[in-house]
């Protein structure tokens, strides 16, 4: 077995989802290669070379990879794809953009959102918004897949650095062009790796009142999530969305406020250790999955909520 992991990073450091993907890779083989395509990304390579399990780093440090387009990143990966039995990327929008295009060009299946590796050709993945789990077996010569980060721990660091090798690439891409990216900088922890998340839904009513959620989150050093309805209504940006088609999260504590608990939302939170729901409707489906449910009007209990936080030292 030889496994290639396509790294996701911001030219400064690896994403935590890549660290989880490396852990998944080490289950398959002791020989894991990390492909780091970026621009001015030597610091990523250096820190990545000290991640346990990584035996080699292949890097392409070229302008076109500053924000990589699938057209280029897939062409680059194709140069080395034949050396591997498995090619993995995190099941993020980055990995999901790249992996299927690569798979089609290699004429193999792609396996999305792997949550468990049974052996080198058998994997488990959720379907139907996580309401069923499929075990699939691949006979393809190379298994190409995305790894659900919340299902695997982050890979630890090691002392002896892995060698870094450069891969030349000249972009032939005349198909697509990167124009801009609008990211929402925040001091808060990332949703996908946060220990505590507070999410708000349509029940918050407007963007102004949603800020209350953000304020509580800051006191708890928590990440902020949202339901699709809250995003659609413009309370918060799209990258806050948690669920089947948003982010899948697995914090120790997930607090859902003013969220009804549609299956599409639940799909993203089921792996949380403790789920708390605050909702004024006693029949809201969120209470069926909540470990602790409080039937209340959020705005009415807010003063008490803030008091308790103060008492607990937050």
């Amino acid at each position: 077995m030889s496994v290639l992991v396509i790294a996701e990073h911001d030219n400064q450091k690896l994403s935590t989802s890549t660290l989880s993907t490396i852990t998944a890779a080490t289950i398959l083989a002791s020989d894991v290669t990390l492909l780091i395509a970026g621009y001015d990304c030597s610091s990523v390579c250096e820190s990545a070379s000290r991640i346990a399990g990584v035996k080699k780093i292949i890097t392409s440090d070229i302008g076109c990879f500053k924000v990589p387009l699938a057209e280029d990143l897939v062409a680059l990966t194709q140069l080395i794809a034949n050396d591997y039995t498995h090619i993995l990327a995190p099941a993020s929008t980055f990995g999901k953009n790249v992996i299927p295009r690569l798979a089609a060009l290699l004429d193999v299946a792609a396996i999305t959102d792997v949550i468990l590796i049974e052996n080198d050709n058998t994997f488990k993945r959720p379907i139907y918004a996580g309401n069923a789990i499929a075990t699939v077996q691949s006979q393809d010569r190379v298994k190409v897949m995305t790894i659900r980060p919340t299902a695997f721990e982050s890979a630890p660091t090691q002392d002896s650095p892995a060698p870094i090798q450069t891969l030349g690439y000249t972009s032939q891409n005349t198909l697509s062009e990167f124009i801009a990216i609008e990211t929402h900088q925040s001091e808060r922890p990332e949703l996908t790796s946060a220990k505590i998340i507070i999410s708000g839904g349509r029940g918050l009513q407007n963007a102004e009142q949603f800020k209350i959620i953000e304020r509580l989150a800051d006191r708890l050093h928590a990440a902020v999530g949202a339901s699709r309805a809250a995003v659609d209504a413009g309370f918060v940006p799209n990258d806050y969305q948690v669920g089947q088609t948003g982010k899948v999260v697995a914090p120790d504590l997930y607090i859902a406020i003013g969220i009804s608990g549609a299956i599409q939302h639940l799909a993203g939170i089921k792996d949380s250790k403790i789920i708390v729901a605050i909702n004024k409707d006693p029949d809201a489906p969120i209470f069926e999955v909540a470990d602790y449910g409080l039937v209340a009007d959020f705005f009415a209990i807010l003063p008490e909520f803030e008091n308790v936080l103060t008492q607990l030292g937050y």
Partner: protein, 249 residues
């Protein structure tokens, strides 16, 4: 400009699915079926291009059993001009669908192909990217806004960190995310009109494409169920549980 939209027939998203006891799959008998929600959004985008005078024809394509004709008729009722069914009763995985769509694209030569970003049954999120690869076209996945500008399309993409903008040379593949638009409900007259619109059926076997599943599904099972939770009466009680019992705060 011709626009093709790939639409999949799936279990209606309001339905609570049931995993079969023998582990062979999910119960689809007597279950309400509908167009994949993302494909409705994809189709709405195509129809709006036509209404804006930027597209000349909108063709909906589905791959699957003859029952997909119902889904295609729903697409025609929304406003597509004609429909194509690639008929097969084989199990279709994304790579096979991409290959079948590739054949349709070669025949129809559209300038733009819209797909949903993911089908809500297999949650694969693969077919559009695969089709783009097979055609060697540009891909704009997870689109929340599109602007056509001569021979290019600018796509705003919903990515994990926020919003990304790319410019793609046409012909191109675009996969629709939730916020691209709000799909319309077909009006009764349009539902009637849809019955007269052309729907071509092509048998998948006539295309000589290898559509055999690449992945063997060994088992479909229910996920582990979370233990029944409790209701608390006050915030104080809630935080006491979180702090003292669960130690998560």
């Amino acid at each position: 400009m011709k626009v093709l939209v790939a639409i999949k027939r799936v279990i209606d998203y309001h339905t609570k699915i049931r995993v079969k006891a023998d582990g062979s799959g999910v119960e689809t008998r007597n279950v309400k079926m509908a167009m994949n929600p993302f494909d409705e959004i994809a189709l709405e985008a195509a129809i709006r291009l036509k209404e804006a005078g930027q597209a000349s024809e909108v063709i909906v394509v589905s791959c699957g059993t003859s029952e997909c004709q119902e889904t295609l008729r729903a697409g025609l009722a929304m406003g597509a001009d004609r429909a194509i069914l690639i008929e097969t009763s084989e199990e279709l995985q994304p790579l096979a669908v991409a290959k079948l769509l590739n054949a349709v694209v070669n025949k129809e030569s559209p300038q733009l192909v819209f797909l949903g970003k993911q089908a809500i049954d297999d949650d694969a999120n693969q077919t559009g990217q695969m089709l783009a690869g097979l055609l060697n076209w540009a891909q704009g996945t997870f689109a929340s806004n599109i602007i056509i500008n001569n021979d290019k399309i600018e796509v705003e993409r919903e990515v994990d960190g926020g919003l990304e903008k790319v410019s793609l040379k046409l012909p191109a593949i675009v996969t629709a995310d939730l916020r691209l638009n709000e799909p319309r409900f077909p009006s009764l007259p349009n539902i009637m009109k849809a019955k007269q619109k052309p729907l071509e059926v092509i048998s998948a076997s006539s295309l000589n494409i290898d559509i055999k599943p690449r992945l063997t599904v060994l088992k479909i099972e229910s996920p582990p169920i979370r233990k029944q939770g409790v209701k608390v009466n006050t915030i104080n009680e809630l935080f006491n549980k979180l702090h003292v019992t669960e130690k998560v705060l």
